[in-house]
């Protein structure tokens, strides 16, 4: 029974980390309907930044977030401004394939550049948080994962609040529903998209900082996390930020229990099988309201 609870806790907490990564994508894919195929590789980039920063300066991983987050914010802003906005303006469809292709190109560039610059060996860093855990009733709760979980909750809540209440957030949702009409209503679509993408990238930066005590990074990190985040966002449903949190937790739990009951490989197969099932049965995600 203790093992069961341990698996439950591990799954939940790992799910929190996944959610952190997925929240960023749920903004770009869910709200803006722009599909960022390079999500995993951008996370890899953030993780490299965090790990090198901590290696170089010896700062606390939570402090590294304050550096990596803003840097990623700026990168996201310019990626949207110079790479994606020109495509969005040209495209007629709501989910332009050209964006998918461009971000796939970005993914290719980032992962190969990482291999070139840092070789395919993995990099890791020992921080004050590494390996720390809280011991409650013979169960171990990993401290860095717990922090990541709490931050993921905070991020989800904050972004949801931003989308629902803030003037900018509402403008963003309006733009996602109908670009042209929103523009006619006087909204600066281009700037809005840049901001939203920047926030999405910043979430990745935060995730990178949070993951630095737990994960080693290598050029294949992008591939490992990339498709997983897509799975999570689709599970949660497009346009739903809380859905990303739910999707993250589901994937975390499936991996944890799958690994505990069978093997981690089976767990991966189950994750993808669930993903395919959700795509077919409820393509708009578990938390979606609309059907189209």
């Amino acid at each position: 029974m203790a093992i069961f609870f341990q698996a439950l806790i591990d799954g939940l907490l790992t799910g929190g980390i996944y959610a952190c990564v997925a929240v960023g994508l749920s903004l770009s894919f869910g709200v803006m309907r722009l599909f960022n195929w390079a999500q995993g590789d951008l996370l890899m980039m953030a993780l490299y930044m965090a790990i090198f920063l901590i290696q170089g300066t010896g700062i606390h991983p939570l402090v590294s977030i304050l550096v990596v987050g803003p840097v990623m914010f700026v990168i996201g802003f310019f990626v949207q401004k110079f790479l994606l906005n020109p495509l969005v303006i040209r495209a007629k469809e709501r989910e332009p394939l050209s964006v998918l292709l461009t971000t796939a190109g970005m993914s290719f560039v980032l992962s190969n550049l990482a291999t070139f610059l840092f070789t395919s060996n993995s990099q890791s860093v020992t921080t004050p948080l590494t390996g720390r855990s809280i011991n409650i009733a013979s169960m171990f709760i990993s401290t860095p994962k717990l922090i990541a979980f709490v931050v993921a909750l905070g991020l989800t809540f904050g972004i949801q609040l931003f989308l629902q209440k803030a003037e900018w957030g509402r403008a963003l949702r309006a733009t996602s529903q109908d670009r042209e009409v929103a523009q006619l209503m006087g909204m600066n679509n281009k700037l809005l998209y840049c901001l939203a993408q920047a926030i999405g990238f910043a979430c990745l930066g935060v995730a990178g900082g949070l993951m630095s005590p737990i994960y080693a990074v290598s050029p294949s990190t992008g591939a490992t996390f990339g498709f997983k985040t897509l799975t999570i966002v689709v599970l949660g449903g497009k346009g739903s930020v809380p859905g990303a949190l739910l999707g993250g937790i589901i994937v975390g739990l499936v991996e944890s229990f799958g690994g505990f009951l069978f093997s981690s490989l089976y767990a991966q197969i189950i994750v993808f099988a669930i993903f395919a099932l959700v795509l077919f049965l409820k393509p708009n995600g578990l938390l979606s309201k609309d059907r189209g």
């Binding site: 599909f35 989910e95 190109g105 290719f108 498709f227 991966q268 099988a273 993903f275 393509p283």
Partner: protein, 344 residues
């Protein structure tokens, strides 16, 4: 008069194709270094796969990003068929194609209900599922697959075992490429090609005018899957090794798509053009700058893709065509101007 005009319009194109074909067939005779033939084989197989992907991704406009799964299925079936003593890998190759088509039929039925990005995602999901199954099990249906280690193919050098030296492989793959171009051309100019083009442009409208959208998408997918599988079977016999990293790699699927899009998806020569140009650039960079730089050469694909999507969505092929037309146009203008002058 009209006859000569027709001749003028068609002849140069046909001569060009014929010249290319002759050049391709003579290549191993002119360039005899095994190293160059090796590169040529790799480039040719990418041309072939890109052209096969083009049927579903280009003509039908369905971005099946996970279609590398059929390459893997074709390769594994052919190798296992031979290894388990059922017979020649040639029969296994055809069987691999048939199994790929069956697999495509089963998984594409629900996939085609999804549109755009979701369709791409679903196909990638199946690629990952099959890949993890191969990675995770040492035997499948009682046949040894050795998980991630893959299967070594013992060298015999007999053509019955689908082994015929570098030059032989070059010709086999070249013939396959010519065949797929013929098939592509037949599809493109047939009723099916026009239907696919309608589906690509506007699925809803295509369905409204009475095109059986699911049927034609499925046909395109099955043909593409069959051709990809055959290529997979031949290529692993050239490598003498089949492993899930090579044939079920997600990068492979992506690369094939990139070649096709950069060359010009939905055109007959685009994928060949893309794979030729990028393949040659990549291999040259690799040789000139050493293997340390290889990832940089791959990163170059990504940059090329971003640039093409942004500035020339029709691909290199269309870009070239536009240039030729422009040159022709300016020449024509000059001619007509002189004509006018002479009339005056």
């Amino acid at each position: 008069m009209s006859k000569t005009l027709l001749k003028d319009k068609i002849a140069p194109k046909h001569i060009l194709v014929l010249a290319l074909l002759v050049l391709a067939f003579l290549f191993p005779q002119i360039v005899t270094q095994p190293y160059f033939i090796q590169i040529a084989i790799t480039v040719l197989i990418y041309c072939y796969w890109s052209s096969a992907w083009n049927i579903i991704g280009g003509y039908a406009g369905q971005f099946a990003l996970g279609n590398g799964v059929y390459i893997g299925i074709g390769a594994y079936v052919a190798v296992l068929f031979h290894q388990e003593g059922f017979g020649s890998p040639w029969i296994g190759m055809v069987l691999g194609g048939v199994i790929s088509v069956m697999f495509a039929f089963i998984i594409s039925k629900p996939c085609f209900k999804l549109r755009g990005t979701y369709f791409s995602l679903a196909t990638v999901a199946f690629l990952h599922i099959v890949r993890y199954i191969i990675l995770g099990f040492n035997s499948i249906f009682g046949m040894e697959t050795n998980g991630g280690m893959g299967i070594m193919i013992p060298y015999t050098g007999r053509w019955q075992d689908m082994q015929f030296g570098k030059e032989g492989f070059y010709y086999v793959i070249l013939v396959m490429l010519v065949l797929i171009l013929v098939v592509s051309n037949v599809i493109r100019t047939s009723k099916m090609g026009y239907y696919l083009s309608a589906i690509k442009t506007n699925q809803g409208a295509a369905s409204t005018i009475g095109i059986n959208v699911p049927k034609y998408k499925m046909m395109a997918q099955c043909i593409s899957a069959f051709c990809l599988a055959l290529g997979g079977a031949v290529y692993v016999h050239f490598l003498l090794n089949v492993s899930p990293y090579d044939v079920f790699g997600y990068d492979l699927s992506l690369e094939i798509m990139i070649y096709c899009v950069i060359g010009g998806s939905g055109t007959l020569w685009g994928p060949v053009f893309g794979a030729l140009v990028l393949g040659i650039i990549n291999e040259t960079l690799r040789v000139q700058l050493g293997s340390d730089i290889a990832p940089l050469a791959s990163a170059f694909y990504g940059v090329a893709l971003i640039l093409i999507v942004r500035f020339a969505p029709g691909g290199l092929y269309q870009l070239g065509q536009m240039l030729i037309n422009k040159i022709k146009g300016s020449l024509g203008k000059k001619k007509s101007e002189t004509k006018e002058v002479s009339v005056q």
